[in-house]
Subunit: 650 residues, 2 copies
């Protein structure tokens, strides 16, 4: 029932795949939402395999950034003919430039800019973050000062720290960009607004007068992206280059405030919901690589003389890897639910906004953090080879972990999520009921919940007993943080300072709240699967997810006697039991993520499991091996040894 | 009392340094063991500053591996004139080649090889790990088959997975190396032994016939090191190239067993003790970078209209960073104690071996793990800029995290540590007393320890109450794992399989045991400091360390009622209280690690705090910025946009 078996595969992997107790096709279709999508995925991969010009001329790990960028531009210009949204260096054009035109340009502007953007007559990005300001947009320094005489804005970076910094594809690729700058008109500062700014000549691509633009240099990951910096010195743009769907500026410089202040909010939620899915995929990729490798890597005998065993047989290895698979699924369900809410919102149902709001910030923080941590566990579980770029894991980690910082730094996100929790706690203390149903936060209003946990010795527990336990923790931490805030305020500390002094407690409450959300979505999500063997696998993954999380927050559960030590033992047993059940299906479960070798980009994670010969092949072709003797050898080390030998002969 | 203030510094850092309540000179001397060492450190740095040829021609982050290697060889050949042990590409020569000759060559061999090695007439490394085998040396595949006719060994890599893989400086730099291979004589396999093997011509440096050697390609970190692979095909070496201090082979092929099987053990312990200090330094570097940056980075107003505050004012930021400073100190004390035991052992006191053994494996695992995690916290706490290579933090992390895998994979290390714990548990159950005093493990024999924790509301607690709590947890987890092992065996499961089924529980016990060790060494270590203001700072760090750890293992403490919820609250308060006390000294404490700008290699962590202008400078000089317009632009993106414009005109 595993569709990924082929002749010529490493027999150790085939052996695993033959043990499969479910249909990988059904599970794969469920992960990618339907069988149609799987079909399409396979078609695209087949097309890629057949068209060698889409392949990298050598592994990208061997390229410097110049050649990576060149290779990416080459592939994008080929792919443009076939796919709608090609990746870098067009990534930000599609995820930020076009959506901003759609959401923030008025009709006339849209008519002017949108077709050109869609046709790729220009390439753009979105420049908001500055060298000195990321999180706190209110203090951005770039200015757009209106000159009513010429009806132009004059853009300036008044200080070094005002330099735009980080926007993807800003350094080299983009020629028309969105700049967020403080609008100043008639001597008044109206705060940050968006402007459409040409920065390079459309024909020569040279940077325009007054524009200093460049690449910000190498980063932890994403080496192919030309994240850029930008300094503006008296750059003039027409009045109508200010995005005017919401706020407007008349020719005489009169400012007209936007009618709805928080209209842009929906997009932010959407971007985060998309991120959740990306994170699930990244964790799925890392799990696939590490579990396949753990099934072909043998190390150590368990019983003397019986031969070495696959490292996947070790409980410690299973405990490192299988929870990552479970989390990849948990995040997929959490993201799916968030996207569903967003679709309802787009369809006009504004009532879902509180639920969306209630979850998007905390979810972003928890999921990016656990994904990055999980990939690192996968990487380390591959031993030394996980440290090689050949494994694909270092780059996967470095890319994923960036998500902890961009689109809202995680600590800030958790504190944002905590704001809503504290607001609810305050309502509850005042005996106020929720004005609307909100499936994400309603549990916080339950004042008569059980004070003893229902987890017992059964190895087929009801998920609700665990979810209720998570709710208990989130509720307790929320009210504890709220009470501490109130106490501090009663002692005369300002609300703002009290907030800072409760930062760590608030963060913990938000994390606990997010846990309840993910667990609930996972538990609900698998109910849609009707195929019994696949359902059984998902149940095992859910069980692993839930009890692994119980152990992660054991202190919070034991704190007030809600859980007793014996129940922690039951929880451990349920983790071990889930690992035992999942073991025979482990390879087939990760196969069902349906990531192909191009996506995996890993010698360790290859579908065919032929790792060692390909590791050697990969290493041999790496750039330093163009020389047996490095050309500089005789100048330095060679001379040093020669001198020493001469010396010793004296 | 902060000696690191200079004119021209960022006033935000000077402001911090002026708040200093202790002597940074005294604290620095304590961290680096004495004032003499600090003086020497400053002399070396001064020499470096004055000798421009020792500087990198551009930041190494901008170099590809070819130029990194060239630059390293250039610097090493200059440094050789001044310092005794230069780094890469001579790193493994000094840490593995020379010590192996010292410990494993017989007198005649030593007389032959040692002077040449010390004079650098050849450059060597140590090739043990293979593509298919790392942890389990018994199954290494490389063979050294003795041919009595010619009195030579014939070395072979019988399979692809037998390729030597990973040795540092093997790929390009070394010409004489140590190869670990299975000794086969007269048809009998005597298992792994060490051989001295020429792999490159001493004059031309070309790889010798039968030798395939190369670089293994790019890795997560350590890009400058030429980690290598090696395949041997009927390479012949003289009989006397086998290291013969312990085992020997007569000319007729008769094998003589070593007298003392575990003689090499001491070196392994020593290498790990050195690693502990390296980890402390790395965490110290990351703390210095992130705390200095947090003192010059302003973001967000706490109280509206009062201006933005340093991010170091946020409790969440302090909670991320200051525990890393405390751990850097904790690891330094733990490493110091281990080195002291090792020195006693070298001095002939074999009684310390059990204590050494008892701690080195678990300590290696816990310290490398917490260091890597801590550096990542520091990196993320620097927001977007922490993600730039300009911060130095990505490379620091990628280098440190390798320590989780080399010199004994961490999971294997913890299980090794658990073996000793289980052995002791078995003795205790049989009412056997320890044969010798062992300060590291004696607490496990205490059968009548208190069952209630002494932590109370005092904000100046006695460390012993916390250390006893850690002991309680370690004891409980050790005996629980032991009892589970026994139960499984009683159910008829083999001892080996029972061990695998208890893997996760055993790992937890070993981690808890290591915690007691580190806490005890930290607590004892600061007693040597007599200067009261410095002592006060160290006490605050110890308090932070201890109660942060309490919160890390809160579940284990609450599990059996040893601790109650209220005591967790006291512990939290003690963490917050320690953060509050440490805050004014934070910059001065990291200054006292005395890492200079060359060691920090970080634009964010510069002593002078002039970050933003130097970030821009760094970015501008990065290689992609040699071109305003990339030379390939018109071929790809330029053409794509031009085509689109033509199309839209039709």
């Amino acid at each position: 029932m595993n569709s990924y078996i082929k002749p010529g595969d490493n027999p150790l992997l085939t052996e695993e795949r033959k043990k499969c107790q479910f249909s990988t096709d059904i599970l794969a279709a469920f992960y990618h939402e339907n069988a149609q999508k799987i079909k399409r995925r396979h078609e695209i991969y087949q097309y890629y395999l057949e068209n060698k010009e889409l392949h990298d001329p050598e592994p990208t790990e061997f390229m410097d950034r110049y050649h990576r960028l060149e290779n990416a531009e080459r592939k994008v210009s080929l792919l443009k003919k076939h796919v709608k949204k090609a990746g870098s260096p067009l990534g930000l054009h599609y995820t930020m430039m076009i959506p901003t035109i759609l959401n923030n340009a008025d009709d006339e502007q849209k008519a002017e800019w949108l077709p050109k953007a869609q046709n790729l007559e220009f390439i753009g990005t979105y420049a908001q973050t500055e060298l000195g300001h990321g999180t706190n947009l209110r203090f951005l320094e770039t200015t757009a000062t209106y000159d009513p005489k010429t009806q132009e804005f004059i853009l300036n970076s008044p200080t070094t720290s005002a330099a735009k910094w980080w926007p993807g594809n800003l350094g080299k690729s983009s020629n028309r960009i969105i700049v967020v700058a403080r609008l100043i008109s008639n001597g008044k500062d109206y705060g940050p607004h968006s402007f459409f700014v040409p920065i390079r000549d459309p024909i020569t691509h040279k940077s325009l007068p007054g524009v200093t633009v460049g690449d910000i240099g190498p980063k932890f990951g994403i080496p192919t992206v030309d994240n850029g910096f930008l300094l503006l010195n008296n750059v003039r743009i027409p009045r109508r280059n200010m995005f005017m769907k919401n706020a407007k500026l008349n020719p005489d410089g009169t400012y007209i405030s936007p009618k709805h202040a928080k209209l842009a909010y929906g997009t932010m939620v959407y971007v985060r919901a998309v991120m959740i899915r990306t994170m699930s995929h990244m964790l799925g990729l890392a799990s696939t690589i590490s579990i396949r490798y753990s099934a072909i890597r043998k190390q150590g005998e368990i019983e003397a003389g019986k031969g070495e065993v696959k490292v996947l047989e070790y409980q410690t290895q299973q405990y490192r890897l299988l929870p990552q698979v479970a989390r990849a699924w948990a995040f997929e369900f959490a993201g799916r639910y968030t996207r569903k809410l967003y679709a309802q919102f787009l369809g006009g149902d504004v009532d879902v906004l509180p639920a969306l709001h209630g979850v998007s910030s905390g979810l972003k923080a928890v999921v990016t953090h656990q994904t990055a941590q999980g990939i690192e566990q996968c990487r380390m579980a591959c031993g030394g080879h996980g440290y090689s770029e050949a494994s694909g894991l270092p780059q996967l980690f470095a890319t994923a972990v960036a998500g902890c910082t961009y689109e809202g730094e995680n600590m800030v996100m958790l504190l944002q999520s905590a704001r809503q929790l504290v607001k609810i706690a305050s309502d509850v203390r005042k005996n106020q009921k929720p004005t609307k149903q909100n499936p994400v936060t309603d549990y916080l209003y339950k004042t008569s919940a059980a004070t003893k946990c229902k987890i017992d010795q059964t190895t087929d527990p009801d998920p609700s007993s665990v979810i209720e336990a998570f709710e208990h923790v989130a509720r307790r931490l929320t009210f504890a943080a709220f009470d501490k805030l109130e106490q501090l305020k009663q002692r005369g500390i300002s609300a703002e300072n009290a907030w800072v002094q409760c930062g760590v407690d608030l963060r913990r409450a938000a994390t606990a709240h997010t846990r309840t959300f993910i667990a609930r979505q996972f538990s609900n999500g698998i109910l849609e699967m009707r195929d019994l063997p696949v359902q059984a696998v998902l149940k095992d993954l859910l069980q692993l997810y839930l009890f692994y999380e119980v152990l992660e927050c054991d202190g919070d559960l034991l704190y007030d006697g809600y859980v007793i030590g014996q129940q922690i033992e039951y929880s451990k047993n349920n983790v071990y039991e889930a690992l035992r059940r999942l073991r025979p299906n482990a390879v087939s479960i990760v196969d069902s993520f349906d990531f192909n070798d191009r996506e995996l980009n890993s010698v360790l994670g290859r579908r065919d499991g032929n790792v060692y010969e390909n590791m050697l092949e990969w290493a041999k072709s790496s750039p330093l091996n163009k020389h047996d003797v490095m050309p500089f050898h005789h100048k330095y080390l060679g001379k040093m040894m020669e001198d020493a030998r001469q010396q010793s002969k004296l």
